[in-house]
């Protein structure tokens, strides 16, 4: 704030009116600390320097009470008799009051000054100061007629009801106290004394229309009182005319349920009387719960962070599902290929496959560990030569059908890659999708006298065998349908029997359904038992869970897995890689199964 002044000072400008003002301020400021540190030795005050003292100095201005002015002789006080307006008996007590003087100012407004209090008969003050504390409670009242008409109860005598009301008034609705003091003697207390005075207590007892008093609970007392209150309220103000407040009061009064209250109290008492162990346990459990919640939250947060950091591959998959989304093998497969591709690209980025990678799932890598440019080149050359050989062979000779038949030449629209054994093909045909089905096929073949291993599995044999298997399949289907239909018809027959009507209609109905269903039902019939396995194979390859299609499903899964792997790998590979793969495959063609299994094991 001093800057304006400084600038003016520097520029040689006149201070103007401002200067004086600030000078005044300055003086005031300088004066303030002096006043503030009154009572502190000057040396100590000097130590503070210009800065404010390190502790707030509490400035007590009124260190000493103002000197009492002498107001003449001491004021006189008198013991003023007074009656309390809240009392009806005119008890006179005395309290000290300033003796009224001729001078008007008297502090207490209510005691009117008396000029000559002592000469006349003593003035008695009428005190209403504490009248406001004399409070009477409101109680509903009822007449005898009303009682007889509406308020009678089997449980309560008129006398006891009156007593109850009296007690409620005496203890101003403090129910705990009311219950504590509630001590109804069949003849009311005042009556009792009268009667004992009269000396015929026995007569008083005999005159009682009710049994000796019973122990009443707070709820009993409340229930009776509320019941009467509600009834009376309704009598005085019809329900229609009650305002909202009155009506809620009426509701609470009339809806009081002593049992509910009693139970609640029991529960409350039980809660209070829990032992230390129980309380400790509860505390412990609560603490534990909190701890677990906190740990879970922390874990979640950590995971979240980890995931974010990993830029995890399937960002579009449901992140929240976490690992759960990788339970299916297909998903795993996808993840694997993705990871694989990433790995590959990283490796390439880092300058070629000069060492075994961390995730060495790649069979190529394993095979060509001493990978060099030369090897790759030669592999490519070999592949090329093979390709030229094949393309040169096929178009050259055209054979006649007989020759074709003789030399067993077959033409294919599309060749599956690799070499397969004919026996493998036959073996494959024996396998159905479910174990049971496979067994059934085997049984049917055995019945037909087809050996387990067909000698000379030529392609023709394979064709015939295929037809045979197809028929066997149909046969089995039909059998199954028959069994099913038979079962159904049996059930229907029994149902019919039970109904007591003729069995004819049911039979014919069943048989008439059969041929129609023949084509339809096999599918569904076949699907229903193997439904799980089927879907699993198709969708996620996880055949666990149904014991039926277990082994089979897994076997198939193996194949599919392996194939899927290769399929997915092939397009992403470079040409040279593809060549080496082909080379590898031709080399390992005989032991394909074993390679696959070992691969799986490694995986």
């Amino acid at each position: 704030m001093a800057s304006g002044r400084d600038v003016r000072d520097m520029l040689g400008l006149p201070m103007g009116g401002d200067g004086q003002k600030s000078a005044v301020q300055k003086r005031a400021k300088a004066a303030a600390p002096v006043r503030r540190i009154q009572g502190v030795a000057r040396e100590v005050a000097a130590l503070y320097g210009e800065r404010p003292p390190p502790v707030a100095v509490y400035e007590e201005k009124k260190a000493y009470r103002a000197k009492r002015q002498n107001q003449g002789p001491a004021k006189k006080w008198v013991q003023q008799p007074f009656v309390n307006q809240a009392r009806s008996d005119g008890l006179v007590l005395k309290h000290w009051r300033r003796k009224p003087t001729t001078a008007p100012p008297v502090q207490d407004g209510e005691d009117t000054p008396m000029e000559d209090g002592e000469s006349a008969e003593p003035y008695i003050e009428n005190s209403a100061d504490f009248l406001k504390y004399s409070i009477q409670v409101d109680l509903p009242t009822f007449t005898d007629e009303e009682y007889d008409a509406y308020l009678r109860s089997d449980d309560w005598s008129r006398e006891e009801t009156d007593y109850l009301f009296e007690v409620v008034r005496d203890y101003s609705y403090r129910w705990a106290v009311i219950w504590d003091r509630y001590d109804y003697q069949p003849a009311n207390r005042s009556h009792l004394t009268q009667e004992t005075v009269n000396g015929d207590a026995s007569q008083a007892l005999a005159a009682l229309p009710f049994a000796p008093p019973k122990q009443r609970t707070v709820e009993d007392l409340k229930a009776r009182f509320y019941h009467i209150s509600a009834k009376l309220m309704k009598l005085r103000i019809p329900e229609m005319q009650m305002d909202a407040e009155q009506y809620t009061l009426y509701e609470t009064l009339s809806k009081f349920n002593p049992e509910l209250e009693g139970n609640r109290k029991l529960l409350a008492a039980a809660l209070m009387n829990r032992s230390m162990d129980e309380v400790k346990e509860e505390e412990f459990l609560l603490a534990e719960l909190q701890r677990i919640n906190m740990a879970a939250n922390r874990l979640d947060a950590e995971r979240e962070e980890l995931r974010a950091r990993l830029e995890h591959p399937s960002a579009n998959q449901q992140v929240s599902a976490g690992l759960a989304s990788f339970t299916s093998s297909q998903a795993l497969q996808a993840l694997f290929s993705q990871l694989f591709a990433q790995d590959r690209s990283k490796k390439r980025a880092s300058g070629g496959g000069t060492g075994p990678s961390r995730i060495s799932l790649n069979t190529n890598d394993l095979i060509q560990t001493p990978s060099s440019a030369n090897a790759q080149l030669s592999a490519a050359a070999r592949r090329q030569s093979m390709a030229t050989n094949q393309s040169a062979q096929t178009p050259i000779r055209t054979l006649s059908p007989q020759q074709e038949y003789r030399y067993n030449v077959s033409t294919h629209d599309r060749l599956t890659s690799g070499v397969t054994f004919g026996s493998d093909k036959l073996l494959k045909m024996r396998q159905a999708k479910s174990n049971v089905q496979t067994q059934k096929i085997a049984a049917a073949l055995a019945e037909l006298g087809v050996p387990d291993v067909v000698p000379l599995p030529t392609s023709k044999v394979a064709d015939v065998f295929e037809q045979l298997i197809g028929r066997v399949g149909k046969l089995l289907d039909v059998r199954k349908v028959r069994e099913k239909e038979e079962g159904e018809s049996r059930v229907l027959a029994q149902m019919k029997e039970r109904r007591g009507s003729s069995t004819q209609g049911g039979e014919s109905g069943a048989t008439s359904v059969e041929p129609q269903a023949k084509h339809e039902i096999p599918d569904s019939a076949e699907q229903t038992p193997g439904l799980d396995g089927d879907e699993d194979n198709d969708e996620d390859g996880d055949g666990d869970g149904d014991g039926d299609g277990d082994g089979d499903a897994e076997g198939e899964e193996d194949d599919e897995d392996a194939e899927g792997e290769e399929d997915s790998r092939v397009p992403s590979e470079t040409v040279s890689r593809a060549a080496s793969t082909a080379h590898k495959r031709s080399a390992s063609v005989l032991s394909q199964g074993s390679v696959q299994s070992s691969k799986r094991a490694r995986k």
């Binding site: 009492r68 013991q79 809240a86 007590l93 504490f130 004399s134 106290v177 008492a269 809660l271």
Partner: protein, 470 residues
Amino acid sequence: MNTLNSSSAPAAGEYAGDEVAAIVLDPGYSTIRAGFAGEDVPKSVCPSFYGQIDSDSGSQYLFGENAIHTPSSNLQIKNYWGSDGIVEDWDTAAKVWEYAITSRLTGARAGDPAKNGLNDGPKENGNGDAMEVEMETIENQEKPLEESPLLMTEPGWNPTKAREKAIEIAMEEWGTPAFYLQKTGVLAAFASGKASGIIIDVGASHTSVTPVLDGMVLKKGVQKSPLAGNFVSNQIRLGFKQSQPEIPLTPHYLVKSKTPVDAGTPAQAIYKTFNIPPTDSFRHYQEERVLTEYKESVVEIWPGPGRLSNGTNDEIAKSMPGRPFEMPDGWNQVFGVDRFRAAEGLFDASAAITDDANPRPKDEHTLPRLVQAAVQQVDADQRPLLLQNIVVTGGSTLLYKLGDRLNYEINALYPSTRNKLIAPGPVVERKYAAWIGGSILASLGSFHQLWISKKEYEEHGANIVEKRCR
């Protein structure tokens, strides 16, 4: 009351006070407390024990602290209380009470003597320093309480007869214009500023636990037991007797002079001799004074957790530093674990020291059990409220660490509620809580409508006390 000065009256709204020079009388087994309402300590505290000298010309009574400690032949020390906290000897009770009131309060007062009207009647002969107040002196007076309303305290279980007797004495013998009876429990709660709570009062002759709700005693919940100050004194005596070697208990009046001795060695003192030795009751009373001193300075209560007998607590107590005590004749010793044993019986009946004449106290008389029984009798909804206001009062609660132990025991009983012990620190507030509560109550302007006036008493008879003082 030093806020009052002669130049200004207290503002009306400042406090709801309206002092009418009421007298508050709080009689207890060990002392009687009396004083003017509105003051913060009782002006007159005089022993409930009195001396009686029987001679041919009738019995002579000695009242007051100064009169009953002088050994003289045939002097018997008696107490008007019965063992259960109910006055037994009403005639003497009235005399002792009257002494307590007149000796310090309504006698010649230092204040403005011309105005209080008390001096108008026949002169009491300087009661302020009276060592002995004889019957004639008292009878000379008109009525000692003609000017002052009287608020008296009573135990929670006072029977109707005793209450009626009290109002009779106040109205007819003392001529008080107005009278009221209030329970000690309620008043002790008021003294701590509470209208509801559980009041644990460990006095001399008995311990009481009183549930109070909105200024009213819940009668069903009132519990009492004889395990209090006198019981502790008795335990100490037994402990002294049973210790090896026996610890000698010599009251002051027997010792003429003493020389210092080492701890544990026999005392070297010159004892007084009496031609006719004072009675046993005198000696017993004098011994009691020594024991009170011992209680004040040595006895300690095992503060918990657990009881003294639990596990290794005994060992821990043994390893705590002892406390020295010197008998009036110079015998002295450092008391170790023994000092814990004297009062353990208040909490654990099985730990009480017993002999043939002093059987084991009842379990239900121990403090925790009393509290439990009292709480049990209260409406379930009110229990937590009461447990939040546990007022501790009575001289024997000054026993060292009693509060800690009580706190532990109550928390062990009710672990799920918020239990709060209110134990005022100042000794005076602890010992005189009931009186202080009475002082507050009787100086409230709104209280004056509750007094039973002389007129009402005459109209309705003594039974009015039952109706009005609930």
